[in-house]
Symmetry: C2
Subunit: 435 residues, 2 copies
Amino acid sequence: MTEQTELHRVVIIGGGFGGLNAAKALRKAPVRITLIDKRNLHLFQPLLYQVATGGLSPADIASPIRAILRKNKNTRTIMAEVKDIDIESQKVFMDDDRVADYDSLIVAAGSRHHYFGHDDWSRYAPGLKTIEEALDIRRRILSAFEKAELSEDDTARRQLLTFVIVGGGPTGVELAGTVGEITRYTISREYSSFDPKTARIILVEGQTRILPAFDQKLSAKAAISLEELGVEVLSGSTVTSIDRNSITLVVNDKTDRIKSDTVLWAAGVKASSLGRIIVKNDLSLLDSSDRVIVDSSLALPGYANVFVIGDLANYSHQTGEPLPGLAPVAIQQGKYVAKLIKAKLTNKTVRAFRYVDKGNLATIGRSRAVGQIGNLKVSGLFAWLVWLFVHLMYLVGFENRLLVFIQWAWNYFTWNRSARIITNVTTIPDDRPKN
Amino acid sequence: MTEQTELHRVVIIGGGFGGLNAAKALRKAPVRITLIDKRNLHLFQPLLYQVATGGLSPADIASPIRAILRKNKNTRTIMAEVKDIDIESQKVFMDDDRVADYDSLIVAAGSRHHYFGHDDWSRYAPGLKTIEEALDIRRRILSAFEKAELSEDDTARRQLLTFVIVGGGPTGVELAGTVGEITRYTISREYSSFDPKTARIILVEGQTRILPAFDQKLSAKAAISLEELGVEVLSGSTVTSIDRNSITLVVNDKTDRIKSDTVLWAAGVKASSLGRIIVKNDLSLLDSSDRVIVDSSLALPGYANVFVIGDLANYSHQTGEPLPGLAPVAIQQGKYVAKLIKAKLTNKTVRAFRYVDKGNLATIGRSRAVGQIGNLKVSGLFAWLVWLFVHLMYLVGFENRLLVFIQWAWNYFTWNRSARIITNVTTIPDDRPKN
């Protein structure tokens, strides 16, 4: 047996913030890593809404995993989809009958949309998790304006110019704020048959206030900022149905049907189906979002070599409240698990995982953001600058960061958005959007 | 009747170089312009190969037509597909039963691929005309490397690592040279199970030399540059069949079947089908590529108010040889037609169209290009710098130009390509490429 096959084998599923940071932190460890992702890219999801609204291009916020890990000489990156995991025989099964054996497994497969039992809504109200979904949303928003320009019927035009965003968390707030900016500034003088400023933008939130994870005062400030951008905020509203050109809400026991051709979904996420696989359908190990309830070392209870991190994990820390599905959580968890694996190889021990909360930020639009860092609450231009700086620093790779910065600077001074192109039309020879 | 309806109505079909330049040149004329395009974007086609090879993002080389024409107060831009044209009643028929009446018509609908009677080849050998096709080619090239990494069969891997580009004109040369650079430099150390330098890249040309529109010496220099990048140049080769994983050529009466999973088509173009519509199927008015043979004022013979410009036009000038399908030809023709329409409104006359040849350039790769400007022939770094400068200057909009320049500068110094991401996977929920 060669030395290489005797090395401790680490399999990482997922090239998001968690998986990538685990791999990087194991770069010099005496292990053999296989990182499996169904895509060839790491996506900087916090900025995906910028792609959906034509401010950035997909490649500005995505890098090939292979390129990011070029210096990881102990890592093999493979693009494949994981179909099954056997935690007894320690095997990961991929498509095309490929199998990877592991000594330690890191499952960092993330989350997907959750329509709360209404999967049929996904056709009419796309979510924002992948590049394709972002381009689909971009196409829908921009096509609605193009169709409104051609419409000769006031009711139809009204319906085309009504945008409903479901979900008042950071993603929903960002989407609504940006659509507001586009209609009020970017395209305000580009159409002949209607005034884009008359577009109606509605943000729907089930709870009593938007950004419920933030302090109440910041929620209120965010709502005011949104209203300045022309967004109507409907809190305490429950969605009861969505179809091709309308959404029905219940607000204070009253049912309201809003005619809209463009409904976007930012309301809920559910963990990857790999969670169910590794708990072998033992639902007591899953929370209501299908996240795996992990132990204090982020391992699956009873399996000290199977780690679950990032959006797929439910780690309750001291507070009892599970950690949120944010990039900093996944990053810290990825690094922690790498440290733990290295420690185990030399029979050392590591303390329980502890999340260091660096704060929470949400942007609403140009110069508008809210944030809380410990007890400090910030809003307005300062919060926006902090948000800008933090996101640029997190972006993977020097070039991406610079390009994004230039585009933002340009957009800031001109109100322009450089990626307002309708792509991803599916038919290749006749390439006009058909919807 | 209001004054507005009395204005001379100009309908422009196509927002490419020809149509856009006609509209811009008519900006201050007392006319009412309707520009119709099936896309919302103007595409800078000369750089589309950079998108196909992961160097640039679609939005870097595309801008919304509406944004470009924001200052054209007399222009209405509509996104629709033209289905029919009646040159007797002077009407343009679009989808959804929309009709536009015109006094002057400018048809600038461009060209599409031509598989010389083998349309079935288009499935296996995509061409490079639209953003979607560029992203499809990018996906095919990058996926071939990912699949090669996973392949355990030498023959299959060989086939995955063989890239055939059909057509030795500028587009084919650019594609082949760039794939050569990628395998020799960009990704040379990113894969574990094969050496990307062993990839085979074959450029197939039917004529006896590549770049037949250039001087013979420059063709020879381009061939040498390509060979330095690992590209095999097969001139005098006729393609007889293409299927999912092979291409068959006849070279010097010998048949050769090359096993390859990635065949790209850059061999021929055919004018838009609108040409056939406006000549009412009178084939004597079309050349063999379906281009409309126009008179000395770029008008359809017998219809002084119907102009055909750009790739759709066959204008033979003094030489007898039709002008090539290049951006400068379309730009000059668009401006000429605008000038002619303005002159007619004041009963002035304009001389016959004359193309001012500013030269011809083709790039092969980093620091490698060939060009001829009048009798001057240039090659190597200088030609490449000229090519770079000319293309940046032509790019529409300041921001795009700057971003493209930064990406190029970065790519130049690092051999990196920032847009090496596989996107445009068609299924939305399960987003892994299936091919």
